[in-house]
């Protein structure tokens, strides 16, 4: 009985405790699993891809012209950022010139081997685009870099504007930069936007390049040669699609578009084959087959300049004074000027002669569309182009081309321009081949020749009439002045460029 009571007492004691406990607590919390935090010690810092060693070849430095850096279009970079490229260009004999706001692009491009525009954010004018197109068409090399991290500001509108600027410039070359950046979340160098690129085509620009890294790069749409592209997992931020996105493209032989600037800068140029690519770009920029024209006047030469004079030239005080001034002009370009007794292939030439040209001068006139009235030598007959084969055009041409017999002494016939009087004009004739440039100065008398040399000295053909390889500077009482009326007779129907193998004219 006592035990029973005791149990009841214990029961009565526990009931409220158990009741309350059960009321509130229906179990015991046991963590469902072994709680784990990341093994921070096992995480490793990713290391950059080792750079490929590049042999530093001793190069022969030869004077090959200037490279113009565009700074006139609110370009979003500092020259110090591209020192590696500049060193490569200088190693190849380039003179680095900047094109600043307010300057004349045509003048700056005179004698230039390449024009580089990096991250421009201000529109190119129509004239500038035309001048750059002409420059590239003449064999000048054009490099355009549009980096998505280089806009005038971080505003979306600025980024769009910077793309528009470069795309306007590159429109004729069928190259379009997209307003995006490329990324790869699977295989990248340290960050998803640091993408690997591999060559698509064999080209001088991708020689010895196996893999490069671009650091936030715009992708490029191009109908031309796609040189370097990402892999199948490299996508465009614009659409999250892509694969094999091109980021370096070449149009024709002379226009190179690159979607990243950072790979040129320190320390990123040291990664993978970036440095090799920079060397190749340097070589590309300096190796254009630049066709020298009067647009480059007076920066026509890249080699030491030799002066050859015709038989009737007298080296008097006035002439020597002008030649000395010309020497000083070219000395500023590190070019020497000296008299030659005979032609030397190692020299570019300035040839001085009187009209009609003598035998010394005569051989240099081959291929130039000029015919002298008293000349008994070879001059080309104007050739109609394929487009000018219509009967009417042919008749028109034939009717007005003078024959050797009809061309009077003292008169000069220039293909495409017509007849002019030798006493009224001085002539600059330009011949440019792959390895040398020759400038012929022809005048009616020695005094006029001295005046022509002064035009070289002052460095401008302004006021002279220039047609392809011939420039005419008219003389009147006040000196040389512009030709008042172009002597264009067959402007629409004649090919103005000298034909490659002009038929000889026989007596």
């Amino acid at each position: 009985m006592k035990a029973k009571n005791l149990l009841i007492m214990v029961g009565l004691f526990l009931i409220p405790i158990i009741a309350r406990t059960v009321w509130y607590y229906q179990g015991i919390y046991i963590p469902s699993k072994q709680l784990q935090t990341p093994d921070f010690l096992s995480l490793e810092i990713p290391q950059p891809t080792l750079s490929t060693s590049v042999a530093s070849n001793a190069r022969e430095i030869k004077k090959t012209g200037s490279v113009v850096l565009d700074l006139a279009h609110a370009n979003q970079y500092q020259i110090t950022e591209i020192e590696m490229l500049i060193d490569e260009l200088k190693d190849r004999g380039a003179e680095i010139v900047t094109f600043d706001e307010g300057e004349d692009l045509n003048s700056t491009l005179k004698g230039a081997a390449a024009f580089i525009s990096i991250a421009p954010t201000m529109d190119f004018s129509g004239d500038e685009i035309q001048q750059i197109q002409t420059f590239a068409a003449r064999g000048g090399r054009l490099l355009v870099i549009a980096d998505p991290t280089r806009s005038s500001s971080e505003y979306a509108i600025s980024r769009a504007q910077s793309v528009k600027v470069v795309n306007t410039l590159l429109e004729p070359y069928h190259i379009i930069f997209r307003n995006d950046y490329a990324y790869n979340v699977y295989d990248h160098e340290g960050n998803f936007r640091n993408v690997y690129l591999e060559p698509l085509d064999k080209n001088e620009l991708t020689e010895n390049v196996e893999r490069v890294v671009f650091y936030a790069s715009r992708s490029i749409s191009s109908y031309e040669t796609n040189l370097l592209a990402g892999d199948a997992n490299t996508l465009s931020s614009l659409t999250d699609t892509g694969g094999d996105l091109c980021m370096v493209a070449l149009a024709g032989n002379n226009v190179l578009a690159i979607g990243d600037l950072t790979f040129l800068t320190s320390p990123y140029y040291q990664v993978a084959d970036n440095y090799q690519l920079i060397k190749n770009i340097g070589q590309f920029l300096m190796s254009g087959e630049r066709q020298v024209t009067f647009d480059d006047f007076p920066n026509l030469f890249t080699k030491p300049i030799g002066i050859l004079s015709g038989e009737r030239i007298v080296l008097d005080q006035d002439l020597l004074a002008q030649i000395n001034a010309v020497k000083e002009l070219y000395a500023k370009q590190d070019l020497t000027v000296e008299f030659l007794e005979a032609d030397d292939e190692d020299y570019d030439l300035i040839i001085l002669g009187l009209i009609p040209p003598d035998q010394t001068i005569h051989k240099y006139l081959d291929g130039l569309a000029i015919q002298f009235g008293s000349q008994a030598g070879n001059t080309p007959t104007p050739q109609p182009t394929a487009a000018e084969t219509s009967a009417a055009a042919t008749e028109s041409i034939t009717a007005q081309i003078p024959t050797q017999a009809t061309l009077r002494a003292g008169q000069i016939y220039i293909t495409g321009l017509g007849e002019v009087s030798q006493s009224d004009f001085g002539f600059f004739l330009l011949k440019s081949t792959s390895n040398r440039t020759m400038l012929l100065l022809l005048a009616d008398n020695q005094g006029d020749l001295v005046e022509l040399l002064s035009i070289v000295r002052y460095g401008s053909l302004k006021g002279c009439y220039v047609e392809n390889a011939i420039a005419l500077c008219e003389k009147n009482n006040s000196g040389w002045k512009p030709t008042p009326t172009p002597y264009v007779v067959f402007e629409e129907t004649l090919e103005l460029t000298p034909t490659s193998s002009p038929p000889p004219i026989t007596e």
Binding site: N5, I8, M9, V10, L12, F13, L14, I15, P16, I17, A19, R20, T21, W23, Y24, Y25, Q26, G27, I28, Y29, P31, S32, L35, Q36, T37, P38, D39, F40, L43, E44, I45, P46, Q47, P48, E154, Y155, A156, V185, Y186, G190, N191, F192, N194, P267, Y268
Partner: protein
């Protein structure tokens, strides 16, 4: 007469007292059994030092108060600094050794805030909330320079690392973030590593389908889930920061750059490396 006598006998029977006494004693002792409490901790702003100090105090409070049987972590934050996020995360993990923690995403759980959600047992989100943005954001420090008037003893004494080293550091933090997500979601995660690290923000429903969260629902569901995990009923809910009133500072945070109207621009004042989502990135960097 006999009946009256019996009644009087019962009233005065000491045996009844003997039975009542343990009952009363039991009731008294039962009253000492605490009513369970679910504590709520709120992270509704950027995660900076001030925030981490407050939250860690609240976690410590929850841990040291036995009546708090579970915690609901209410999140509506774009994230913040790496250090402060990691500090809170590690304290949450420690708390979970004794008490379950349920995350309730109210509006935004991005980057560092999502990192904290990975330190909880269960994640519930408002239907319209946005979740994810796994990744790191940072600005590179200045390029190394040398100054005439400043003398230091090594090339990196002034800058800590090579400039490029910060890119590597950010990548390291990214990897660590992914590890946190992987451990936090385990086999519930339906996204690949690359997909997680794209840094996307997902609507709650999509986040649930991707396994980034467990459920879409109201705050009461989060509380109920916390109670379920803690095996408690008839609990009460307290806001731990109110319990700690007076111990935390009301000083206004200076984490973000403010515009001329005093509104936050979303950009951190100090350059550095962050687990942060900047809502309008790129449109206007002050």
């Amino acid at each position: 007469m006999k009946k009256n006598s019996q009644s009087s006998k019962t009233k005065n029977d000491p045996r009844i007292l003997i039975f009542l006494l343990p009952l009363v004693l039991g009731i008294l002792i039962a009253s000492l059994v605490p009513r369970p409490v679910i504590g709520s901790i709120h992270i509704r702003d950027e995660i900076d030092t001030k925030m981490s100090i407050r939250v860690m105090k609240e976690i410590e409070y929850a841990r040291s108060h036995p009546e708090i049987k579970a915690v609901v972590l209410i999140l509506d934050s774009p994230g913040g600094t790496i250090n402060d996020t990691e500090l809170i995360y590690l304290e949450l993990m420690k708390l979970r050794e004794t008490k379950p923690v349920v995350a309730m995403v109210e509006g935004l759980s991005a980057s560092g805030s999502f990192y904290l959600a990975m330190g909880t047992d269960y994640i519930i989100s408002n239907p319209s909330a946005r979740i994810g943005n796994v990744g790191v954001i940072g600005t590179l420090p200045s390029s190394p320079i040398v100054l005439e008037e400043t003398i230091s003893t090594g090339p990196y004494k002034l800058f800590g690392n090579q400039r490029e080293g910060y890119t590597r550091y950010i990548e390291l933090i990214k990897e660590s973030f992914y590890q946190v997500v992987k451990l936090g979601r385990e086999n519930k995660l339906k996204l690949s590593k690359e997909e997680v690290l794209r840094g996307e923000l997902y609507p709650a429903s999509e986040a649930a389908k991707a396994g980034l969260i467990d459920e879409v629902g109201p705050q009461s569901s989060a509380v109920a889930k916390a109670a379920q995990l803690a095996h408690i009923a008839h609990y009460r809910i307290i806001n731990i920061s109110e319990a700690l009133a007076g111990e935390t500072s009301d000083e206004k945070s200076s984490f973000f750059i403010l515009d001329e109207n005093g509104a936050s621009t979303g950009y951190p004042r100090e350059p550095g490396v962050y687990l942060l989502y900047i809502p309008d990135y790129g449109s206007e960097i002050p």
